[in-house]
Symmetry: C2
Subunit: 389 residues, 2 copies
């Protein structure tokens, strides 16, 4: 019997919507007018930050709405169920969903802090990054430490400051950092450079895996979104965004192959990577294909000649899925000790409030001890978050 | 016992290198100086076309060389084995490899004619497209009609001319057209528009499937190749091209999802798509994911509300693989009647001269009747190329 009562679901990918005072409560007085704050405009709640307004407070926060009514992001806090922005209400929604613990990614900052990366004033931006981390760890997670898993975003424009913030947040309980699925679309050096080594060193020392959430690097997959010839816009005519939604895991295929052939994993043998919202069904194909390429092309290209990419994957990567039957059927080709369930509340991919029910369906033919690893113990191990005694 | 003597391998993806006189033999006198011709420069054979020189005559034509010696494209015809450019020698190499028939894609024109698309003089470019088709069908394939499968490239900058060329070549035996894996990176309208309908009509009427060869639309996958922020070049530092080689199938994932959500397949129920060199191991994941997205987002986005994407796939798509153990293990999730072997001679992915030996290894546990479909009868069916009585 799969998914038994005593299995606690530990979700490695959920989302929160920041309440209006997250930054106003924490940023020094002189910056308050520039720091993120909520304004009302035409009946909408809108984030105001520096001199920009941001059109949505809760991208894709559709939990609790029938699919036939989707299509508009919420424009006021009242449009969302309180579990989106209130941790006490979230715990109740998790109880309803049969979920024990959740790792929440940011909304206004972007999944990996891209909003602050793009800001004009980088002194303020650093304060905003730290304020989000303090809010999430000290305020949100502190309401229910056995239900919420601390995570930190970083000032990715400065690798030394990023390493410092990783260490600062680890010291107060952070279990993972959220990093762009690729730094390249942000104009930052790729995983193939040594630019990120100070951060990988900090993650290795503090035992924090790097969570790469798809889309966190700003790249939208699909020819009509990111494959256009320069200067031509007609390509997006008539293209439903569902194309990108269906394809977002290709970002993490790209990130995975970049990392596997970068040499970074050999330099940092303790570095761990979580492929948040990436799905897992593609992993066996990509590993087989990367090995095939490595076997044929490693002799004349700048890459490790000794270590098979698929072996590196099994030592360094963790796959995350919401509802991936093909991936589960092929779990042994991925590594049962490297697969984790995610809930994705309150986004459209989530099965809330039926996540536990749906998980028990997709895990119906999986043996008990593997179910326990997939829904609970793998995540507790990756995040160093043991079940309380 | 898999892959028996009487199974004839029909490869749906090989490549030829054009000999020096392909265009000089066919283009009207007044254009001869501008038309593609081979010149010698610093001891190299180089294509000269219009006012440009092209640095390689045989991209990736490494057949017959040990992998330790790869890394340089051939610079003279003598650097290649004659089977690259001589159809009689090719037949001997196919005999050595245990391959009955081959569908060859162009080299100098690009897999789908991109060189002519980018040309200045489109009158000459149309003549060059027609000359390649005449060369391949009337000269190359005619040397051994039971060994070579006619294919045509198109003047994709003009959809009516493309439809006319498809009809002209179908009348003289072409079995498929090679089309860019996506027209978008070329600056052409996407599969989501009705721009291509005249061509899909011509393909439907003539019974020619559309072969989408990965990379034929000029898009190179990977953040460091096609995901860069505008104006920033540092991202390519230290990045081995093996990253793109391992990831090229993501192009065809993108094309597949584009087509499945475009409405074009509903308008052209006879249209068939071949995913050349795309691999097949990713297909079950992408179909499951696209169905999942369609089920949740179809209500408010512009797409068919009735037809499941995975059902469309099984009616319209054909998967091609060289060496894909995961895909073969999951062949029933793809459709055994929709999977075809490819050889990829003379490129680096090919197992030549051991293609038949390697195919019998990867097909070792597949039942006889399925092996016959995968190596021979599916391709004969898709290409309307029955075995001679």
């Amino acid at each position: 019997m799969p998914l038994q009562e005593h299995h606690q679901i530990v979700s490695v990918d959920d989302h929160l919507i920041e309440h209006p005072r997250v930054w106003q409560d924490r940023i020094p007085q002189r910056y308050l007018a520039e720091a993120p704050r909520i304004v009302e405009l035409d009946g909408k709640h809108i984030w105001h930050y520096e001199d920009r307004q941001f059109p949505t407070i809760g991208l894709n926060a559709v939990a609790g709405k029938p699919v036939e009514e989707w299509g508009m992001d919420p424009v006021r806090y009242e449009d969302m169920i309180p579990g989106c922005y209130d941790p006490a209400a979230r715990v109740k929604d998790m109880d309803l969903d049969g979920v024990q613990a959740a790792l929440c990614f940011p909304s206004f900052p972007g999944f990996a802090g891209g909003t602050f990366f793009r800001a004009r004033d980088k002194d303020l931006a650093l304060l905003c990054v730290q304020a989000w981390n303090d809010f999430y760890i000290d305020e949100w997670c502190a309401t229910a430490p056995d239900r919420f898993l601390p995570l930190a975003i970083l000032p990715v424009w400065d690798v030394e400051a990023s390493a410092a913030e990783a260490r600062r947040t680890a010291a107060k309980g952070a279990r993972t950092i959220s990093f762009p699925d690729s730094p390249v679309p942000l104009g930052l050096p790729s995983f193939h450079t040594r630019h990120w080594d100070p951060l990988w060193q900090a993650c290795s020392e503090t035992g924090m895996p790097v969570s790469l959430h798809f889309g966190s690097g700003s790249f939208v997959p699909g020819f009509s979104f990111s494959g256009k010839a320069p200067g031509l816009d007609m390509a997006t005519d008539n293209v439903p965004f569902a194309v990108a939604t269906a394809l977002f895991s290709s970002n993490l295929m790209w990130s995975t192959v970049d990392l596997l052939l970068s040499g970074a994993l050999q330099r940092f043998p303790d570095l761990q990577i979580s492929l948040a919202e990436g799905g897992i069904g593609w992993v066996p194909y990509i590993l087989e294909r990367t090995d095939y390429t490595w076997e044929r092309h490693r002799w004349y290209q700048d890459m490790d000649k000794e270590t098979r990419p698929s072996d590196l994957f099994r030592q360094h990567f963790w796959g995350c899925f919401i509802d991936d039957e093909h991936g589960l059927a092929n779990r042994h080709a991925i590594g049962v000790d490297r697969i984790m369930l995610e809930i994705d509340y309150p986004h459209s991919d989530s099965n809330w409030p039926n996540s536990r029910k749906r998980a028990s369906e997709v895990l119906a033919t999986v043996p008990d001890e593997e179910v326990e690893m997939i829904v609970e113990t793998n995540a507790r191990r990756m995040l160093n978050y043991p079940r309380p005694a």
